[in-house]
């Protein structure tokens, strides 16, 4: 060998698809060919089909159910009703928030679209026909469509099934420093107030929920293919609810057509398909239709804010007071860490240096679908950041200060980390002011302000909205974060075969985030095994290590960290093998990407692949054979990405229609594993932000009818409406406690984006003196604000005029 001592033979990390490589996605190969394997693609021999009958009323007593005509239809195998479920103790099931939820209604229906009965038939068309033949006699009760109706003296008690539930209050909860906050308000020069409603929204992945349950009488094993972002949680829940032994339950999440939080909870349809399969001893498929998905499965938001900021004349924030009233629907089934009743709402103002803050939160039952899922957000952080940035905009206006200057002045400074937020979180790192400067420069802030003033003279309404956000991502650490008592760690298992190829499995579950691509990149970074040599599998509870699944942007912070840690365990063993192969002691060995070498003779080395071969064919005496390991990662803290979003708009003064002129996004999510995928996540999030700000919401009329239960009423932006985005990635603050310095990113834009759009519209019409228009900022709402110069509420029930 002729290598000189300082010549490195380390692999080129980008070439092997390591960290920072915009590697093309491996999962694409099947999706572009139409060869994905989604739940509805699963076909098993002898499979039957299930359909659900849903309640047409929001609140009614069930007097009787007559299913005889359905039973008589040829091809019908089984009709399930609440009464039958009750005989097996399955009419109710626990929610993820320690409440109960009806599987099939027995006593009352409590929201429109609630599951009342199920038909299982040879063919889905027959199952649908049979549902229409079921006769249900309802006695209507007054529907409660918002928290205020629910809190009224004479309101009917929705949850009369619960002992000790005398009213419609779900919880009262508080966090922060009340006395300190009261003092801050006493000292304030200005108190800025804001009241608003974050409307009910639905994550609405294009693929609806579904399951194929397959109980095998001979082996006693239950296999369920199911649209779940968290298959291990489902397994645990099925074991508890259906009282089946956990090792006899296999949950498989195949390819998932988008999740966004909607596919975290356990839904009645899953439970019914499982019971039907057990009773009929046949596979049973249930595929929800879009109305079923929108009307009954995990919604998000629906929170009312009363916010106040205590301000000093010079612009310093002295204190923040928030009160939220959340509309939880008929069952409290938020999918969130048990300890926190209103999710992580108290992450509000984490990016600002606020001396004192206090939050009170109240939850109320209404006659609406349950949910409260983390829709592209870390447990109500979306509401927290929206409230924060709407309050900040109003505060700057009240002080007569420039929007950018007010934020800059109050940001947590770069040298102030770790920083304790007013509600007790510990933020890890960030360069907030720098991100803001990048954004302002990109949008050409000063010039836009001039242009805006000019335009206004000619009657044109231009507006600019700034929103910033920092989000606690990567729940959690197990001291504080659990769901149903299960600690929120995650896991990875890596098996390196003797030829140096590897299989990696994690407890997370990709739904479009590209785990099959990025996890292999982390292995490549840690071990120098080319990413193409690592296959990634997730979603099968029989093979994947136990993990809490993918939501709340927790995969890179938690499962991704586990991938790095398991790779390091493998490297530690490979080092021993290398020492054996090189006949030197371990201390004399150095690592460079893909290779160990002798410190004193760098030309003498062995590759990671050679170590892998040795692990199976030439290990030292006394060493356990094989090169496989598992890591469970319990994060020391959450990761805190930061972002600045700036939008410019033009509002048509005649019609209230507004168009986005430009959208600039500056995201600092630490180290980017695959920049292409990160940018894809950001653009997806921005589009959901635009959707929520401009058109997407679920509301109800006074009779309890859901408006927004299909894609004709629930408006999602198409390519035609969606604006273009300008992304900036130049600010990188690695997470100090994550093994590869990464932070979560999947949701930042959906969390921080909405306020940028709304702030821009409010800025454009600032001369009206209108303080707030609730989202979505529909043209008719803008028109109303422009015409009548008053705030516009979007709270249900919708006005009939």
């Amino acid at each position: 060998m002729t290598t000189t001592a300082d010549e490195s033979r380390a692999l080129d990390e980008i070439k092997i698809g390591g960290l920072g490589s915009s590697r093309k996605r491996v999962e694409d190969d099947r999706f572009i060919r139409g060869k994905g394997n989604y739940v509805d693609d699963v076909v098993l021999p002898g499979m039957l089909h299930m359909e659900i009958l849903r309640s047409p009323l929001a609140h009614a007593r069930i007097k009787s159910i007559d299913a005889s005509k359905a039973w008589a239809l040829p091809g019908v195998r089984l009709v399930l009703t609440g009464e039958m479920m009750a005989t097996r103790n399955l009419a109710w099931m626990p929610t993820l928030s320690y409440d109960t939820q009806a599987v099939l209604a027995t006593d009352k229906v409590r929201f429109q679209g609630q599951e009342v009965a199920c038909v299982i038939a040879d063919d889905p068309y027959i199952a649908k026909d049979a549902c229409e033949l079921i006769e249900v006699d309802y006695e209507p009760l007054p529907p409660i469509m918002n928290p205020w109706q629910g809190l009224a003296e004479d309101a009917p008690v929705i949850r009369d099934d619960k002992v000790n539930q005398a009213d419609n209050v779900v919880y009262n909860w508080e966090v922060g420093d009340k006395a300190g906050t009261d003092r801050a308000f006493e000292q304030a020069d200005v108190i800025s107030k804001m009241e608003l409603h974050y409307p009910r929204s639905h994550p609405s992945p294009i693929e609806c929920c579904g399951s194929v349950a397959d109980f095998n009488r001979a082996t006693q094993k239950l296999t369920v293919y199911l649209t779940s972002q968290a298959p291990h949680i489902v397994r645990a829940a099925v074991a508890m609810v259906a009282e089946l032994p956990e090792h006899m339950i296999r949950i498989v999440s195949p390819d998932i057509g988008g999740g966004f939080g909607n596919k975290v909870p356990i839904y009645p349809g899953y439970v019914c398909s499982i019971l039907a399969s057990i009773l009929l001893e046949c596979p049973v498929k249930w595929i929800e239709d879009k109305t079923g998905n929108l009307i009954s499965t995990g919604f998000a938001r629906d929170v009312y804010l009363k916010g106040e900021m205590a301000l000093r004349k010079d612009g310093k924030i002295l204190g923040v007071r928030m009160h939220t009233d959340a509309d939880h629907g008929a069952f409290f089934s938020d999918a969130q860490p048990s300890k926190f009743k209103i999710g992580l709402m108290h992450s509000a103002f984490a990016a600002y240096d606020v001396p004192a803050a206090h939050l009170t939160a109240r939850g109320v039952y209404t006659n609406k679908a349950p949910g409260g899922v983390a829709y592209r957000c870390s447990f109500r952080v979306t509401e927290a950041m929206f409230f924060q940035e709407r309050m900040v905009q109003a505060a700057a206006d009240d002080l007569g200060m420039d929007q950018a200057a007010f934020r800059r002045m109050n940001f947590v400074r770069d040298d102030d980390f770790p920083h304790r937020t007013p509600f007790g979180f510990l933020t890890d790192s960030g360069q907030y002011a720098k991100c803001l400067e990048v954004g302002l420069k990109a949008i050409d802030y000063e010039n836009f302000r001039k242009e805006q003033a000019e335009a206004r003279k000619r009657g044109r309404l231009l507006g600019l909205g700034i929103s910033t956000m920092t989000e606690p991502l990567g729940a959690g650490n197990s001291r504080e974060y659990d769901i149903l008592g299960i600690k929120m760690f995650d896991s990875a298992e890596l098996k390196v075969h003797m030829t140096g190829k590897a299989i990696l499995r994690t407890g997370a579950k990709t739904q479009g985030q590209g785990h099959e691509t990025t996890w292999a990149q982390i292995v490549a970074h840690e071990l120098g095994i080319p990413a193409d040599d690592v296959v990634v599998e997730e979603g099968d509870t029989d093979t994947a290590p136990f993990g809490m699944g993918t939501y709340a942007s927790r995969s890179t912070p938690v499962a991704g960290a586990a991938v790095a840690m398991v790779s390091r365990k493998i490297r530690a063993k490979a080092r021993k093998l290398a020492a054996h192969l090189l006949e030197v002691s371990e201390e004399d060995i150095e690592w460079e990407l893909g290779r160990f070498y002798v410190r004193s003779a760098p030309g003498r080395g062995v590759t990671i692949q050679e170590c892998a071969m040795a692990a199976y064919s030439n290990m030292p005496d006394g060493m356990e054979p094989g090169l496989e390991n598992t890591a469970y990662y319990d994060p020391p803290n959450l990761t805190w990405p930061f972002a600045v979003y700036i939008v410019t708009v033009e509002v048509d003064p005649e019609t209230g229609v507004w168009d986005v002129l430009r959208m600039v996004a500056v995201d600092d999510c630490g180290v980017r594993i695959n920049p292409m995928i990160v940018e894809g996540q950001i653009m997806g999030g921005l589009t959901e932000a635009y959707a929520m700000a401009s058109m997407q919401f679920i509301t109800f009329d006074a009779d309890g009818n859901c408006v927004g239960s299909n894609y004709m009423d629930y408006l999602l932006p198409s390519a035609w409406e969606t604006p273009g985005y300008e992304l900036h990635s130049e600010v990188v603050t690695p997470c100090p406690h994550h093994p590869i310095g990464a932070k979560g990113i999947g949701e930042c834009a959906a969390v921080g984006g909405p306020a940028a759009f709304v702030n821009a519209v409010m800025d454009a019409i600032s001369e009206t003196g209108v303080r707030n228009i609730d989202m979505p900022v529909l043209p008719d709402r803008v028109w109303e604000a422009l015409t009548y110069r008053r705030d516009v509420s979007g709270a249900p029930p919708i006005r009939q005029d």
């Binding site: 572009i32 060869k35 091809g75 894809g680 997806g684 390519a719």
Partner: protein, 188 residues
Amino acid sequence: MTMVYDDTGDEATADVPVRKIRFTINGRKKVAEIEPRLLLADLIRRGVGLTGTHRGCDTTNCGACTVLVDGRAGKSCTMLAVQVDGREVTTVEGLATASELHPLQEGFKQEHGLQCGFCTPGMMLSAKALLDRNPDPTEEDVRWAISGNLCRCTGYQNIVKSVLWAAAKLREREPEPAEASAVNKVEG
């Protein structure tokens, strides 16, 4: 769909109406005996067993079920199977040849035009219908052509890039004579 029912002796069992249709799917000729109410999406997915055509909404809004019928993009969730009697259907499985991906498929991978992949087959077929009539579309043309296909993951920007990538690839592959492309434009 061919069905086997429990014979309960009812008239209903005897009366399940059946129609016979002939159609071509991805170049293969097929005969099917179907209930007249069967939707095209079900004929493709459950009858022929091609599951690349997805169903998202059943109300003609999402476009996940988009296929080509005689070269025109249509939503198979709201077409009856009997409507393709004697016609030619192309699904995502018909885009690639045995040896080669269609440039749209390559483009979607190159430009990261998909995430969960659920909307992708429909997107590609709407895009194909566009490129067949307009080989050199603008960004606006693309946005308009796919406006009947919803995507919740990507924010569309990369989908638009993917389609433009494919258009460029197709043009460089088969440089069209000037008149031919003019004719094409008129038809489009």
